[in-house]
């Protein structure tokens, strides 16, 4: 199968998955026990209030019509009204997305630097003390709860040493980079813990292959062999793992935004749950799922550019 056919098939699959995602989110409120109106208003609401809200949310219409309204609304960018903020959900969520995206991208960039550095050092020193040290260190990073680690960073670098601010997002770009450093580092360390394991293994495998011996035999320096020849092949599977981890990164931003008081979608999600602002919870769930789907598609497609030999099955 060629690249075009593969992309076409992946896109069809993506439409199917999107359909499934909307069904799950739409069904969640309706299948689970309890009246959504009372869920939102609380148990002490009057029947009249509940009836009004049902009318506003369209809950008194036939299920199929409700689903159609839900999906077509999403397609038009109309995701209903926030019950807490009294403003369109779409606007509200979109206004928070840049902070979350910036945080995720920052974390990814830091994770790339950390993974490449420590992955290469560990692989080259396989079995010796730097390798062991990195292995143990990142085992801790993997199992450390990110909200706790974030708080420790605040305590050490924010409150004690005063190197970094402890909350907020800043106004200008240099400020953003400065304000977001600790939150991004919190996410990046955990992400790299997964990636380093994989990259180390792949580099060790690749170092054994014939073409590496050839490259060394023709007198290339070890650094050139490593960076130009080994890394390019070793990175392939690490990129896949990265795609699979993206969902965890999105989940991590929710927690880290709460810890560092960042005005992103994660913080909005937690606030909306506390306020039973269900339309907003729904919208954020859909948006984050769509993001994961798109990133995974991009990762799969990036294969053919990283490695021209890749054929699609």
């Amino acid at each position: 199968m060629g690249r075009a056919a593969y992309i076409r098939r992946r896109l069809i699959l993506m439409v199917f998955v999107l359909f499934g995602v909307t069904v799950v989110i739409f069904g969640m409120v309706r299948i689970l026990p309890g009246d959504p109106a009372f869920l939102i208003l609380g148990d002490r609401a009057t029947d009249q209030k509940a009836a009004e809200l049902r009318e506003q949310l369209g809950l008194n219409r036939p299920v199929l019509e409700q689903y159609w309204l839900f999906v077509s609304g999403f397609a038009r960018g109309d995701m209903g009204q926030s019950l807490l903020y009294r403003q369109p959900v779409g606007e509200l969520v979109l206004s928070r997305v840049p902070v979350s995206l910036a945080l995720a991208a920052y974390a990814m960039a830091l994770a790339a630097v950390i993974t490449l550095t420590f992955g290469i050092v560990a692989a080259v020193n396989k079995g010796r003390w730097p390798d062991q040290l990195i292995r143990v260190g990142f085992l801790f990073a993997l199992t450390t709860p990110n909200f706790w680690f974030g708080i420790l960073l605040i305590l050490l670098f924010g409150l004690t040493l005063h190197w970094f601010p402890v909350a907020g997002f800043g106004e200008t770009l240099p400020q953003h980079i400065w304000y977001l450093f600790l939150p991004a580092l919190t996410l990046a360390l955990q992400l790299s813990a997964v990636l380093i394991r994989n990259l180390r293994g792949q580099i060790i495998l690749t170092l054994r292959s014939d073409y590496v011996r050839t490259a060394r035999a023709k007198g290339l320096s070890e650094l050139v062999v490593l960076l130009r020849h080994v890394l390019r092949n070793a990175l392939l599977s690490t990129v896949t793992i990265f795609g699979l981890q993206f969902g965890f990164l999105v989940g991590g931003t929710i927690v880290v935004e709460t810890v560092f008081a960042l005005p992103g979608t994660g913080q909005l999600l937690i606030q909306s749950i506390a306020a039973r602002d269900y339309p907003v919870v729904q919208a954020i769930t859909v948006v984050s799922a769509v993001l994961v789907i798109v990133v995974n598609l991009a990762v799969d497609l990036s294969y053919s550019f990283l490695d021209p030999r890749v054929t699609y099955e």
């Binding site: 199917f16 499934g20 689970l32 199992t143 709860p145 909200f147 708080i151 989940g251 709460t258």
Partner: protein, 292 residues
């Protein structure tokens, strides 16, 4: 009896015909596995003997003893803003967090493995439908879906198990399905089919023992994930409700007093770390042993 006495005809490969080839082997206690088991043993010991290890009730408030730092007289790890003994709260919380880890994996492991073996072995439409369901559920970031479900079900332990269970079975299904798919064409399965075993018997008696080991190893990763998720939800206020001692909730309570009482947040996190490292080491050790 050696092969030579039977003439030129070599014996058939006996290993491929027997079930339980990898699983029946004894597990070797490598350093990774041993460290993990010792750490976990220590944690379980604390959980079981919590009332003997500390004289204090984890819920008992003594306002005249609030914010005592670690190594104070009578309070080895200090006290919190209500004067409650931190060591006592951490020790009692060990029970809860181990319970969360254990109960959150039981259903996903059983359900996920059975579904994986069935669809992997039978294939066909059932398998296609299941894989699409998995695709859809995998599209949601794990924590976002769990939080969304918790927001409808409401906070609390039972709802936590349900929310984690809704997506938690997927890794077990993926692992066992892949293994069962490969096992379909192996000789021991063909042999069982030839002598007339039913599909159910082949799946449960022949395939299951051979494919379950990787799923069992994943249980330890699953437990770490469940405990961390539980602590995260309780940190966000969606888990067990106060004043129940739970590490995530303790970390959240201590946040307001970071500069005043760093031990309130730092120490429960260390407890979480110890449990996480112990379970990860056991998982890694078992995986290393299999890869040998």
């Amino acid at each position: 009896m050696s092969e030579k006495t039977l003439g030129a005809q070599p014996l058939p490969e006996v290993k491929a015909l027997t079930r339980r080839t990898p699983a029946g082997r004894r597990i070797r206690l490598g350093p990774t596995l041993l460290t993990g088991l010792l750490l976990l043993g220590l944690v379980v010991f604390v959980a079981i003997t919590a009332p003997l290890l500390t004289p204090y009730d984890p819920l008992e408030q003594r306002f005249n003893e609030a914010f005592l730092p670690p190594f104070s007289a009578g309070h080895i790890l200090g006290t919190d803003n209500f004067g409650r003994d931190i060591w006592s709260r951490i020790a009692y919380s060990t029970r809860l967090d181990l319970q969360i880890g254990l109960l959150s994996v039981v259903f996903p492991f059983l359900f996920g493995s059975l579904v994986g073996i069935t669809t992997g072995y039978l294939g066909g439409k059932l398998d296609t439908i299941l894989m699409r369901v998995v695709d859809v559920l995998m599209a949601f970031p794990f924590l976002v879906l769990v939080i969304a479900i918790m927001s409808i079900l409401g906070p609390g332990l039972t709802n936590l198990y349900i929310a984690v269970g809704v997506v938690g079975w997927i890794p077990y299904t993926r692992i066992t399905r892949g293994e069962a798919l490969a096992a379909r064409h192996l000789e021991y399965v063909l042999a069982a089919r030839t002598i007339g075993c039913s599909s159910a018997r082949i799946m449960l008696r022949h395939i299951l023992p051979n494919v379950i080991a990787p799923a069992l190893i994943y249980v330890f990763t699953g437990m770490v994930l469940a405990i961390l998720t539980g602590a995260t939800l309780s940190f966000l206020g969606l888990g067990p409700q106060p004043p129940t001692p739970e590490w995530g909730a303790m970390i959240a309570e201590g946040r307001q007093f970071l500069l005043l009482a760093w031990w309130m947040t730092t120490l429960p996190g260390l407890a979480l770390l110890v449990v996480g490292v112990a379970l990860s080491l056991i998982g890694d050790g078992l995986a290393e042993d299999r890869g040998r």
